[in-house]
Subunit: 324 residues, 2 copies
């Protein structure tokens, strides 16, 4: 950990900003761990003893599956919350169980907050104008009902897709500034075919870098204490060269880095994602942590401790090989 304190960013007349990623970065620094644990809970991942308990009570239903997943998530959070700063909730795996699954998503977010974790909803949402305002209210903001203000999901950050341009991003920038929230815009994703569009060259500059440049532009009003704005970028661990290139190109853009472990991105390749202070990125691992008990071959009732062991292994791997 080579972090040095950077000059504070003073909001005129209001004192110090508390931008969303400041909170996240502070947690990363205090835990000496730039990991986010992905909670992408397929029912198959849930140990049988938990699955059986709920399926026996509620039958083979979306409701039973969703309750089993909530229990699984809670036990994982209990095992991780003092060593991992954040969780990433992959919306697809909750939607897969209908509104019951979405209820589990809500409750998982609340539980992670109760345990002091920072929550990133990985929804890759995108739309325009009033519709993007609705997504913003749903995931990061609140909704007026009569004279009451209700917070539907209340995550700290949301992943978004910028293909629609500024109209799709600007509705989010207000909450980043006013409500201490953040977004991560897809730039260079970790999958094999990400280059089909993202690597296309426009006047010699790949599309992912143009998207990155826009992240810098969108974030310029929300640069916080550590030099990073409320607008981050998703850049895959599977593309180490682009990670290093983008780190230099986008000095105010925090990176969410998927693809470590299961997708083949190693810790050495991630080194380029961090700045000279050892910050600037948070690295995701989902299946390797959630299903560590399967890989270890330990008793399934030990799944949460196995997840913790894998999270510690990953933290130490990042410290040693990514020079975090």
């Amino acid at each position: 950990m080579r972090f040095r304190r950077l000059p504070k960013n003073i909001d005129e007349g209001k004192g110090v900003y508390n931008m969303s990623f400041d909170r996240l970065i502070r947690k990363i620094i205090s835990m000496k761990n730039p990991t986010v644990a992905g909670l992408d809970p397929k029912l198959d991942y849930v140990p049988e003893y938990i699955r059986n308990e709920f399926l026996e009570a509620d039958g083979e239903t979306l409701k039973a599956a969703s309750k089993a997943i909530l229990r699984y998530n809670q036990l994982l959070i209990d095992a991780l919350c003092d060593i991992v700063p954040a969780v990433k909730i992959q919306a697809a795996y909750y939607e897969m169980y209908g509104h019951h699954g979405v209820k589990t998503m809500e409750r998982t977010i609340r539980y992670a907050h109760l345990k002091g974790m920072y929550v990133i909803t990985d929804g890759k949402r995108n739309d325009i104008g009033a519709t993007m305002e609705a997504y913003t209210a749903a995931h990061l903001g609140s909704v007026s009902i009569g004279s009451s203000e209700c917070e539907p999901f209340g995550a700290d950050a949301l992943t978004v897709n910028g293909y629609l341009g500024t109209d799709g991003i600007s509705p989010l920038l207000g909450v980043c500034k006013e409500r201490d929230k953040g977004i991560f815009v897809l730039c260079k994703t970790s999958n094999p075919s990400s280059g089909e569009f993202q690597d296309l060259l426009i006047d010699g500059v790949p599309l992912y870098a143009r998207m990155g440049d826009q992240c810098e532009a969108w974030g310029k009003e929300t640069i916080g204490e550590y030099g990073y704005s409320g607008v981050g970028a998703v850049v895959g661990a599977t593309y180490p060269e682009q990670l290093t290139e983008l780190r230099k190109r986008l000095p105010h853009t925090l990176f969410l880095v998927p693809g470590y472990g299961a997708q083949g991105g190693g810790a050495k390749g991630i080194a380029g994602a961090f700045d000279e202070n050892g910050i600037g990125a948070i690295v995701n691992s989902s299946r390797a942590i959630m299903c560590a008990y399967k890989k270890e071959g330990c008793d399934e009732r030990d799944f949460a401790e196995a997840a913790r062991r894998e999270a510690i292994r990953m933290r130490d791997d990042l410290a040693e090989n990514a020079h975090f």
Copy 2:
């Protein structure tokens, strides 16, 4: 209506395909109406008498709001189902009310199906590999729970964002083929800043056209009775030139056309979206139909009939000016 019957596409040994968009196109032809009614229900759009009924019963809560919206949607569907072939469910406006809102989304889809309507979920979903499979199962497919198979949302088609390339689309192609479903990939969206990325030129070809070319490639295994594949494209009514250009470039790609009415796209500009048989596009209108009673200034209890009047006006406008 200048539709001529095209040669049937025969699946070897299995007889005639029933591809998703065949069902939709058949409905459009039989109703002589290429309109999809968008159900993007902000609570403010719901007439006060409905809002009050539910808010009095359940308080100023996400649950009460969601129940009020369900009632509103059902009455709109009742008023539209014999003249409008399809509804488009904008997921953002349901997520905005948390899991209660998502329950209303499920029930709205079921109700629309009961009334014989084709349902497009407008979620603009995107992710890779196993995660995109989860979205596919959620919105168009089914999920295994023990020995049971559950269908979470069960829409007929889903809008998706192709920025992640083929890895993000291929998990959907199986359901398009096997389960009689369809997708619409964002190509040229209707918003003012859509050109920021979508109009960027790669070797002289704009990104939206490259995305369109991929739609043709992704769809080539699922070309149905009318010459259109299960992979459609979203192309905004606000860009008539691009609509016309893309219609010629993408002969097997059905267009979902947002931006008619409220966003400023007129029926004349949409003419280019249709092929020489008068098919090839479905045009969305959301607010203009849902809130017709506000524009008309009629009694709010007449909201559903006002929506029907607006849907008829739009159908006749498209027939006259878009030469549908």
